[in-house]
């Protein structure tokens, strides 16, 4: 199927769903208190975006997310490389990391609150905690993807350890590390929103929780749309960069 046709089909389906969302509550097929029509939700979103309060909450969440991301990703990559490259550390820590990864992080949230409170840094810490394991594990895969024969070629040209790291490891690992970035953001954002929904004085998760309890569906759904757009934008940006690498990665 050509790209134009695929795109048209995709847009057609999206438009159809949007129309359905508009029609169903208006026609009474769905209770409009539970699912306000698309037009109402979008109008609410537009109004909210005009207020300072909206941006205060959004800003809070984005600040927490960005901070947690900036800590978890570099730290996770460095730890991942160090562990993967050491036979001893690999044997000792890899199983532990895999085990901890399989534990749902959300159950630790009350502990984080008890220890760190409910302010900015607690959420950042929880975001880091939610994210770092997937980054470390993806980094393991990235290190493994560096081919032994390419390293041998570098050795045959008498490359130093630094040259091997910069000119073989990093380019070879980049596609998978980009994947790590994408996954990290998903886990990170989810963790922070969860922490905000559970106990927070501000932030997107917080207002979603308040609106949910108050049955303010238009506001709640408007924020859901907003968050979805943010997430999709980030995801697609990273995927675009990944696609640049994709052509040489088999």
């Amino acid at each position: 199927m050509s790209r134009v046709r695929a795109l048209s089909a995709y847009l057609a389906v999206a438009a159809a769903l949007l129309l359905l969302w508009e029609a169903a509550p208006s026609a009474g097929w769905v209770d409009p208190r539970l699912l306000p029509p698309a037009s109402a939700v979008l109008a609410t979103l537009w109004e909210m975006m005009m207020t300072a309060v909206f941006w205060r909450h959004v800003g809070q969440t984005l600040a927490e997310t960005a901070t947690a991301f900036a800590i978890a990703v570099p730290l996770g990559v460095v730890v991942g490389i160090l562990v993967a490259e050491s036979k001893f550390a690999s044997a000792t820590f890899k199983p532990l990391i895999f085990f901890v990864f399989s534990i749902p992080k959300s159950i630790f949230l009350p502990v984080f609150i008890l220890v760190l409170g409910i302010a900015f840094w607690q959420k950042v810490a929880f975001g880091v905690f939610s994210t770092i394991f997937i980054v470390i594990m993806t980094t393991f895969a990235a290190v493994e993807s560096v081919r032994e024969d390419q390293l041998r070629v570098a050795r045959s040209f008498d490359a130093s350890a630094r040259q091997k790291m910069l000119y073989v490891y990093i380019p070879a690992m980049t596609p998978i590390l980009l994947e790590a970035v994408r996954l990290a953001m998903i886990f990170n954002f989810t963790g922070i929103l969860l922490a905000e929904m559970y106990a927070s004085r501000a932030g997107i998760g917080n207002v979603i929780g308040v609106w949910g309890q108050g049955f303010q569906l238009p506001e709640l759904l408007a924020m859901v749309i907003f968050v979805s757009v943010l997430a999709i934008l980030f995801n697609e940006t990273v995927r675009y960069v990944e696609a640049k690498c994709e052509h040489w990665r088999n």
Binding site: R147, D149, Q150, R152, V153, A154, R155, S156, F157, D158, A159, Q163, Y167, V168, P171, A172, T174, C245, H247, W248, R249, N250
Partner: protein
């Protein structure tokens, strides 16, 4: 040796350059040229490696010379240590015992200006174009951009891939990738080229074409080539001498002189002399 000018007029001169000065073409064997120094000298070489706590003798009492400018093959059954031997010549591995002199000096670590290496897997970096892949050894050495580009272009021209300089490895066929790998091994103009089963992963037709290509390149540049292969016919066809190793522990069974005239052509493979040599080597290996 006359250095041809940079603006070539003939096909042969086209391949000549300051980096790869054209050698006078020889129709016959290299006997006519004054013999230069010994490119490779190996004495009393043994190699033992540790495998799960057990010592395995890989190579035993290896010793031979390779005069400069010759094409020598090493053949032997799997596991006979021929690849390890090549790694030692490349400075990638140190023998347990014995002496190796490459271009008159020991080789404790890789020295790409002295010894170029081509592996079975072309191992090109998939994120770099052919041009950049060939530039890579020069880049590691800190050669400036302009010189790098020029020398890499010339190396690619030598292997006939100048038109594909900007192609990425995944856009190239197996044979083309291997040619880029050869260009990369030659870009620093080392006097010696080591090749570890470079055509083993290619289909038979490509292998034959590449063999002739290699002979053409060798004829132009007159490097010393040490060529490890499983293919007896390939070894005889390409070489001046064939070193035959036994199964593990690898020792030299014989060094066969290939007295076929040069330039070689594929019809020689059908001749009786060729078949005799092949059979005798095969019998040596088999027993």
């Amino acid at each position: 040796m006359a250095r041809t000018p940079h603006a070539p007029s003939s096909a042969r001169e086209h391949l000549a350059s300051p980096v790869f000065p054209a050698q006078p073409a020889t129709g016959g064997s290299p006997e006519g040229r004054p013999e230069a120094d010994t490119a490779i000298a190996i004495r009393d070489l043994d190699h033992v490696y540790d495998s799960n706590g057990q010592a395995t003798v890989a190579l035993k009492e290896i010793g031979f010379d390779v005069p400069a400018g010759r094409f020598v093959s090493i053949v032997g059954p799997s596991g006979c240590g021929k690849s390890s031997l090549l790694m030692m010549l490349a400075g990638l591995l140190q023998p347990s015992r014995g002496e190796i002199l490459v271009a008159g000096a020991p080789i404790p670590r890789p020295d790409p200006a002295r010894v170029g290496v081509v592996f079975q897997d072309a191992s090109l970096f998939p994120w770099l174009s052919a041009q950049r892949n060939v530039e890579f050894p020069l880049f590691l050495r800190g050669v400036d951009k302009k010189s790098r580009r020029e020398r890499a272009r010339e190396a690619l021209a030598l292997v006939g891939l100048e038109a594909f300089a900007e192609s990425l490895p995944h856009e190239l066929s197996g044979g083309m990738k291997q040619r880029v790998s050869i260009a990369r091994g030659l870009v620093q103009d080392p006097p010696i080229l080591l090749m570890d089963e470079p055509f083993a992963a290619l289909d038979e037709q490509t292998r034959m074409v590449m063999g002739d290509e290699l002979l053409r390149i060798w004829d132009r540049t007159r490097k010393t080539i040490v060529f490890v292969t499983h293919g007896l016919s390939e070894a005889i066809y390409l070489s001046d001498k064939v070193i035959v190793l036994s199964g593990r522990p690898g020792r030299i069974l014989d060094i066969v002189s290939v007295d076929l005239p040069r330039p070689r052509n594929l019809q020689m493979m059908g001749q009786a002399r060729f078949a005799e040599m092949r059979e005798s080597i095969w019998n040596m290996i088999r027993s």
